[in-house]
Subunit: 277 residues, 3 copies
């Protein structure tokens, strides 16, 4: 298997992504290169971790995933080589792997440090080109992960603090917007697991989703259940709750952005919407 | 042949395009994936149809074209599998195939419904990942189109109303801007066929193209015929009339956008330009 | 070897890049296509030349590089086929090859004119599709460069005037910003060679980099040497001096853009910064 995926904050206006690919293909011309995205906000390690977690499992086992969102490039931060759920990952040790480390058992983890597989010289500003690309290409050629550096204790892998949705004393689940996609859909950190304790079996009650000043009753099955321009709540492509405006941008219509709270609670059906703020 | 093209409104900031490619490569690692564009305006079925029509024939016969601009995802809308002019197409039945259905004879058309080739489960928000990608990958592996679902009467394929340029009683051809490209070029729906009845054989007369307040006399052969910053009219890359500003943006300079009218008529050479509005 | 790279100002919102790839794959389905970038500013031949020069050497020898930034398309401008440092290049004869012609010995240079390898008909607006793509595909199949047209005297290759950094009578090196990347980093035209005459061996003196109203003392080794939001100067990924704001945009913070001057001079350590303008 010879798939290498790329997940970076490089954008597409410069030569950076092309150069990384050139280095890989110089070492392994048979590698299949796939962009996950290069549109991560500059230095946004949280966003990159969310996207990695949402995407990697759709690639074949044996794929090698490069995650290059690396504000600490050139400093003392180490580079992790990780095997987990049959996939390989190369990433700076800055917390971008938090979600997948939380979710899967580590199969192998090394600190990438064997300069034999790096470009020479190694710059202090572009390890994507000088370290990540050539190491990935060699792994893809069949070099073993352990050749890249010494085993690393798993606890040395940096973890980001991630705020999980919590149910407060009044039974309100407090989550938040973790991403706004191209369509303006508001992606939250609320999964089905978080909603289960709130599930409304009782007659006359329904889940209410409060995003900004808008309250939405019930989860939709598909976008077409409401009129164009109307908001709805739905379990989205990442299997998390999303607040969406049909054929419009929820972010614009509801004036909400990344980091803003989204509340879920059980309420009486057809209660007046809470638009009193 | 193993080329799969992708034409979507997903943009490139999220993981959506990468995930679709991951699913395809998980089923058929040998597929060659080519992006036509992911920059279609959100839910703009007309734009996607124009782009598909302009692009698909430059790919080899046997290519499989995925068109995922799908405002009705998760609703009752069906999915079309189509063979035409030696190419295969997978698209929601929402009119995005109108132009190519108008232009070519259908060789085979099915309603894609055989869940055996879908991911399991199928979400209500991301059929690109759960249906289009795996079906394309299987077609690319050699599974026959008819295995994907029952034959579909061609008339059940939804057609968009497309406004064609018309010549009015005074001999004025009325077309419109159907797209503005990266350069700010104004792409119209006027082809050479539409211009033929106006063709100016008579001495002293010339085709005049009126876009906004600007009147342009004659069709240019290439951009360099006018000075930098000056407007010209030319048969463009899609073999349709374009209004262009040399090394500038016609959209900005002429203050025109998609949907705005463009008129063509025969007039006396060197008549004063009609800038009197 | 079958790598073809693409460097254009087409952007990604239209079908243009996809169409070029379709034409190549129709002729040579085994070609490996890699985007360097399609984000060059419209018609910006200087920027394309800088990017080409920074990127091409990271690809394997034998790669074919298409540079399609072509304001003169359809006019009399010729098309160059060039072999140099083991790489092949196809570009309009508009100066985009200046840097690489300055830096390497020409191995072979032809004027691409053999219509046998072009699409038929050739449009006046899209030679990327009609000439560059099919010629690259045939070269990639093993057709020799000399088959594409007659040998061209090297002096007929158009050169751009490029302003090089100069040291003035007072010992101040005057360079300028030649690019702003996705991160807002200010890329200058100042390389280590230019800095050498200024090198500060004397005790108590240091290189000072002046960008807009900000003076920075000394070259940093990596971004983390300053606090977040602070500026630094560093030899960047292109091996040229860059002015950077850690985890921020230097272009925004310092209010500088392409073309603005950057000065370097030797000064006493810890002199007050020159913010008096």
């Amino acid at each position: 298997m010879s798939i290498i995926t790329l997940l970076t904050d490089f954008g597409l206006q410069d030569e950076y992504v092309g150069v990384v690919k050139g280095v890989i293909l110089s070492i392994n011309p048979a590698a299949t290169l796939v962009d996950i995205t290069h549109g991560v906000a500059a230095q946004d390690v949280h966003q990159a971790g969310d996207i990695l977690s949402a995407a990697f499992n759709y690639f074949p086992k044996g794929s090698i995933h490069l995650i290059i969102v690396d504000p600490g490039v050139g400093s003392g931060r180490s580079i992790i080589g990780l095997r987990l759920n049959g996939h390989l990952f190369l990433a700076p040790n800055n917390g971008v792997l938090t979600h997948i480390l939380d979710r899967y058992d580590v199969e192998e983890i090394v600190e990438v440090s064997n300069g034999q597989y790096f470009l020479n010289p190694v710059s202090q500003t572009f390890h994507g080109r000088d370290i990540f690309a050539p190491v990935a290409a060699h792994l893809c050629l069949g070099v073993e992960l352990k050749a890249m550096g010494p085993a690393m204790p798993e606890k040395k892998a940096l973890r980001l603090q991630t705020e999980r949705p919590q149910i407060d004393a009044e039974g309100v689940l407090k989550g938040k917007v973790v991403g706004v996609d191209r369509f303006g859909n508001l992606i939250t950190n609320i999964s089905l697991n978080h909603l289960e304790p709130l599930s409304c079996q009782k007659q006359g009650r329904v889940l209410t989703i409060k995003a900004g000043k808008t309250a939405i009753q019930g989860l939709a099955e598909h976008y077409s259940q409401v009129a164009k321009g109307e908001p709805l709540a739905i379990m989205g492509s990442r299997r998390c709750l999303e607040v969406v405006v049909r054929e419009g941008s929820a972010s614009q219509a509801l004036n909400l952005k990344k980091g803003d709270p989204v509340l879920v609670y059980s309420s009486a059906v057809e209660s007046p919407t809470r638009n009193t703020e």
